[in-house]
Amino acid sequence: MTPPGHPHSKSLRVERLPHIWCQGCGLGIVLHAYADALEETGVDLDKVATISGIGCAGRASGYVNTDAFHTTHGRALPFATGVGMSRPDIKPVVISGDGDLFSIGGNHLIHAARRNIDVLVICSNNFNYGMTGAQFGPTTPSETKTPTSPYGNIENPFNLAALVAAAGATMVSRWTVMHPIQLKNSIKRGLTKKGFSFIEVITPCTTGYGRLNRLSPLDMMRMLREKGKIRKVPPTEAVCDPAREIVLGDFVDVEKPTYNEVFETLTHRAGVAS
């Protein structure tokens, strides 16, 4: 039952709170920003589909008071593509993590961006695979010790904002959970804009990445505040390195025809059924 008068009873399934995420996990902050953005933009919540993949971030869809679906690992974007094509009046929003979207889901991500599918993607980047116990992932900084890189991570991380922009996304932003108002504003922009909109949110994984690297939750939040630098730069220059700096901001915001819009032209090219 919804507690009466709960401030987020419109946009969240408040009867399912408190959520399952760990103490200090940034996902709660992301969820809050999303809830506020949904309410403040005034979008019809019956026409939003919140879709998530597997991982801690993937649990977000279960707390949102819209139609919501929890897909298999890495497959939120093709699922969202099927939704958006079948019901162009529905806005798909994908909330997922760095591993789900860029490792197993990486191929679907770049193609969805290439097609300019109309979807808002909120990627919670916590630098590891949190749910399964903090193994390294495609964004883990080099040399980090994790359970599957016990001698240090010998791989190099992606720059997610640069990658998605190169693939063709029409909106690319990066914030951290220490910038909740800017995050909310970017989400509002993504909700009301047509095209492939991508928001990377740097979030602390307190029991995983943080604990393994001897960073307390507060250490990580202070680090995000200190290393986060808001700059207007091209996405390729938007460095994301927790040891040096994490460049934040709205890097790309352009307009291009969406996949659905171009598909409509096929109907005319093909000739409509008599």
């Binding site: 679906f69 929890h70 093709p78 969202a80 099927g82 079948s86 191929n107 598909f263 059924a273």
Partner: protein
């Protein structure tokens, strides 16, 4: 161009399947090219934009099946077609379709395997895969067309079954049928029975997305209907929320399986020839059944009381019918274009050994081979 192409034409099986989908009301197709199913995609790439439908070619088969589930949950009748290697890729999401009860049709135009195998050679080597390929306890429905006409008719039937039971349905064609040219008769649209999924009658707030009545099939709300439902591949309760309790797992898995098992009598479809008094039972499906029928007829001319049970549904497997037919026979013959798959089910249901005729490498059985086995079995 009309939606249902009523009339007579001379076409191949893949084309007929595509037209069957359109006639059934399919308006979403996700493609990935693969021999010998590509022609289904190519036909639908032409047709769907003309009938107000959507077509998309994905980066891989996994994207294709994921989008089919998304489209299904958006209220669309959705389909994808592939061959063995593509099904292997799709299996995880097929499990998601079973778990979230998403109606959809998956066509497998079977070719020689395993692995890349013989892309242009027909086979029947995936009939166990479609049943057991996805992990966990699942039940699926699989149909086996034996002609171009059935590629059309059974595609419509596949959609109807998927909508009625909220389950993925496989259409298991061998490549021989997929690329065979035959006469196809497409009836008037009004003569085609089309089944649509049950919709909820409750108001939003009262509706529980996975709560079912005696038929074990929950009414299905779709995105944008105002129900604000939640669906997940995790074990869930009737509200759709994840539930990791022992009771929830037991209840859900039983209902998902029993939904098919307890309705098997309505779902199973076989075609029988000369089985009323047969001493030798032949069991076959797909193109093999055509050779088998020829062999059975010739055996009858020689005075051997042979009969053919053609499986139209491969799954659920018609245990009861085989058990009944197996009483009092002298022998049985099973012919498949593989190295021994459904024969195991026949032996299990018949509770006896049978003579098995394998066939590997693109050519169907010749009637003579099956006839020779019938003669052996009749002694």
């Amino acid at each position: 161009m009309s939606e249902v192409l009523t009339g007579k034409s001379f076409v191949h099986g893949d084309w007929a399947c595509a037209e069957g989908a359109i006639a059934a009301g399919c308006r979403f197709y996700a493609a990935y090219p693969i021999t010998p199913a590509t022609e289904i995609a190519e036909r639908l790439a032409q047709r769907l934009p003309r009938v107000g439908g959507k077509f998309i070619q994905f980066e891989d088969e996994i994207g294709a099946i994921a989008s089919v589930i998304g489209a299904s949950y958006s209220g669309q009748k959705a389909m994808t077609a592939t061959s063995g290697p593509g099904i292997s890729l799709m299996l995880e999401n097929i499990g998601l379709a079973v778990m979230t009860e998403a109606p959809c049709v998956i066509v497998n135009v079977m070719r020689g395997g395993p692995s890349t195998g013989q892309p242009t050679g027909g086979a029947q080597g995936d009939v166990m895969q479609c049943r057991w390929g996805t992990h966990g306890d699942t039940e699926i429905i699989a149909l086996a067309p034996q002609s171009v006409q059935e590629m059309f008719d059974l595609t419509i039937h596949a959609f109807n079954l998927s909508e009625r039971y909220r389950t993925p349905v496989f259409l298991m064609a061998d490549a021989n049928i997929g690329h065979l040219y035959e006469t196809l008769q497409i009836p008037e649209a009004k003569g085609i029975e089309v089944v649509n999924r049950k919709r909820p009658t409750e108001k939003p707030g009262e509706y529980q997305p996975f709560s079912a009545g005696p038929d074990m099939v929950p009414p299905m709300a779709c995105f944008g209907d105002g129900y604000r439902f939640y669906a997940t591949g995790l074990t869930h309760n009737e509200k759709g929320y994840p539930d990791m309790s022992v009771e929830a797992q037991d209840r859900l898995v039983r209902r998902l399986c029993d939904k098919i098992r307890r309705n098997a009598d309505e779902i199973e479809r076989v075609e029988e020839h000369y089985t009323d008094d047969c001493d030798v039972l032949v069991v076959a499906y797909g193109i093999t059944a055509r050779s088998a029928l020829s062999a059975v007829k010739r055996a009858r001319e020689e005075g051997i009381r042979a009969g053919l049970l053609r499986l139209v549904t491969l799954w659920p497997f018609p245990d009861g019918r085989i058990e009944a037919l197996a009483k009092g026979i002298r022998g049985a013959v099973v012919a498949e274009m593989n190295y021994g798959q459904l024969v195991r089910e026949v032996e299990r249901a018949a509770m006896r050994r049978v003579e098995f005729l394998p066939k590997l490498g693109e050519n169907p059985h010749m009637p003579e081979e099956i006839l020779a086995a019938i003669r052996r079995a009749s002694k």
